[in-house]
Structures are given as structure tokens and as C-alpha cells.
């Protein structure tokens, strides 16, 4: 019971944040609402017994990635987005398609899936076991992702580095 209540509460917060992300016109509000979504998702993970995932969700997503977003928003001083009408396709095809798809899926989920419940903390994922899995069964993906991250770092450095010709970097001090 408690579980259900908590689920509903955090789920509501989630959806609220997501919708807010849609309606907010200023990116920074969007970012914050996304942070809210992530926080409540972490709570959901806790409810599902995935404490470690929850923690990582908070640290990596909310604590690092979103900070990066906020940082960029501040850096570019992104203002309120103007409502240009660049693409009719998105509205004519995209939104209906999205609606149809999601409705269908929802219907299938409701109709097909039985009501077998997920217990609170049904599967405690102790970090020890996760680490074991990561370094045994999923070793290859793990290493590959590490390489991916390395590449991403280099790519970011290359991309964001100011071309010397356009603007000479001013001295910091």
C-alpha cells in the first residue's frame, strides 16, 4: 500500500516535471524540471530496490549531466525560445504518429500484461553483485563504453576548442 502511494506520488512528480519541460519556454526551467524528473525517478528506483542505480542516477544524471546542461545554458545565455514555425511535418506527421504509437503501446500494456506486482525492494542490487556482473558477464561492453567515453572526451575538447583564427583567447588574469 505504502509502496503504491509512494509510486503514485513520485510518478506524479515525474509526469509533472516532464510536462513542465514541454510547456516551459525557457531552457533553464526545462533543465530544472528535468532534474526534478530525475530525482523522482531515483526515488522510483529506490522503490524498485535498485538503490545503487538510484544513487548513480542522482550523481551522474542530476549531478553531472544536468549541471553540464545548466552550464551550457548559462554560457550561451540562452534566452526564451521563439516560436518559429519551421516544420509543418513535425506537427502534421510527428505528433499524431507519436500519439498513435504511445496510445497503442499503452493499450497493449494495460490489456496484455497481467497484474503481477513488483515488490518493494524486490531485488536488492547490492553494489558488490553489480560490480561482479560488470566485470565478468558484461566486461566487453564495459570496456567498450569506457573507450566510448574516452572518445567522447576528446571529441568534446576538439569541438569546443575555439579555432585560433576566429578569436584570440583573452588572458584569464
Amino acid at each position: 500500500m505504502l509502496h503504491l502511494i509512494l509510486f503514485l506520488v513520485f510518478g506524479a512528480i515525474c509526469v509533472a516535471g516532464a510536462v513542465n519541460l514541454l510547456v516551459q519556454r525557457h531552457p533553464i526551467n526545462g533543465a530544472l524540471s528535468l532534474v526534478v524528473v530525475m530525482g523522482s525517478l531515483a526515488a522510483e528506483y529506490l522503490l524498485l530496490g535498485a538503490e545503487f542505480v538510484a544513487a548513480v542516477q542522482v550523481i551522474v544524471y542530476a549531478g553531472a549531466i544536468m549541471v553540464l546542461f545548466v552550464f551550457v545554458i548559462m554560457l550561451l545565455n540562452a534566452g526564451v525560445e521563439e516560436r518559429t514555425t519551421g516544420s509543418r511535418v513535425a506537427l502534421l506527421f510527428g505528433v499524431p504518429g507519436m500519439l498513435i504509437g504511445s496510445l497503442l503501446i499503452a493499450w497493449v500494456l494495460i490489456s496484455r500484461s497481467g497484474t503481477e506486482a513488483v515488490a518493494v525492494g524486490a531485488l536488492p542490487g547490492p553494489p558488490r553483485i553489480m560490480g561482479w556482473l560488470l566485470f565478468h558477464e558484461f566486461l566487453l561492453p564495459f570496456e567498450v563504453t569506457s573507450i566510448l567515453v574516452l572518445i567522447a572526451i576528446m571529441g568534446a575538447v576538439v569541438l569546443a576548442a575555439k579555432p585560433p583564427s576566429t578569436a584570440p583567447t583573452p588572458r584569464e588574469d
Partner: protein, 100 residues
């Protein structure tokens, strides 16, 4: 006790919100955040299934998703900065030179 389908519906809603955001947002950064939203929705279903089938691999996959998301965020934001530096706009409707 919460039925599995609830979690799935929730993740579906999040994903749909992400798609919608991608479709209706004009600001590149917002669009990017919508992508993150979709990823989160997927993650939720991953964890839910992991709890449902008592298989930890679902949670492992969440990690991989997160790592990929982090990489994507770094590169993507760098690209955004580069775009802004050259086009001086963040509106995707005005960044449309890549066409025939």
C-alpha cells in the same frame, strides 16, 4: 504492491513526453534535454523489468545507458557550443543549411 504495467506506463509517458518535446521544441538545448528524458523513461522500464524478472542485468544496462548518455551529452553540448559560435542562434528552425 504495484503492477509492473504501472511502471511501464509511467516510462511510456516519460518517453512520449520526450518525443513530443523533440517535436515541438525549437531550442537545441531543450531538444537535447528531451532526448535525455526519453533515455530516462527507457531506464525506468529497464529497472522495472529487472525487478520483475529478478535479473540484475537490467540494472547493468541502465548503467550503460547512463554512460552513453554522458558521452552524448558532452559531445552534443560541445556541438551546440560550436553551432552557436558559428550561427549565433540556438533555434533549430534556423539551423537548416544541411539539405539539398
Amino acid at each position: 504492491m504495484v503492477p509492473l504495467s504501472y511502471y511501464l506506463v509511467l516510462s511510456g509517458i516519460l518517453f512520449a513526453c520526450g518525443v513530443t518535446g523533440f517535436l515541438i521544441k525549437r531550442n537545441i538545448i531543450s531538444i537535447f534535454m528531451s532526448i535525455e528524458l526519453m533515455l530516462n523513461g527507457v531506464n525506468l522500464s529497464f529497472v522495472a523489468f529487472a525487478a520483475h524478472w529478478h535479473a540484475l542485468s537490467g540494472q547493468i544496462f541502465v548503467f550503460f545507458v547512463m554512460v552513453v548518455a554522458a558521452a552524448e551529452a558532452t559531445v552534443g553540448l560541445a556541438i551546440i557550443i560550436a553551432v552557436y559560435r558559428t550561427r549565433e542562434t540556438l533555434n533549430v528552425d534556423q539551423v537548416n543549411l544541411l539539405k539539398l
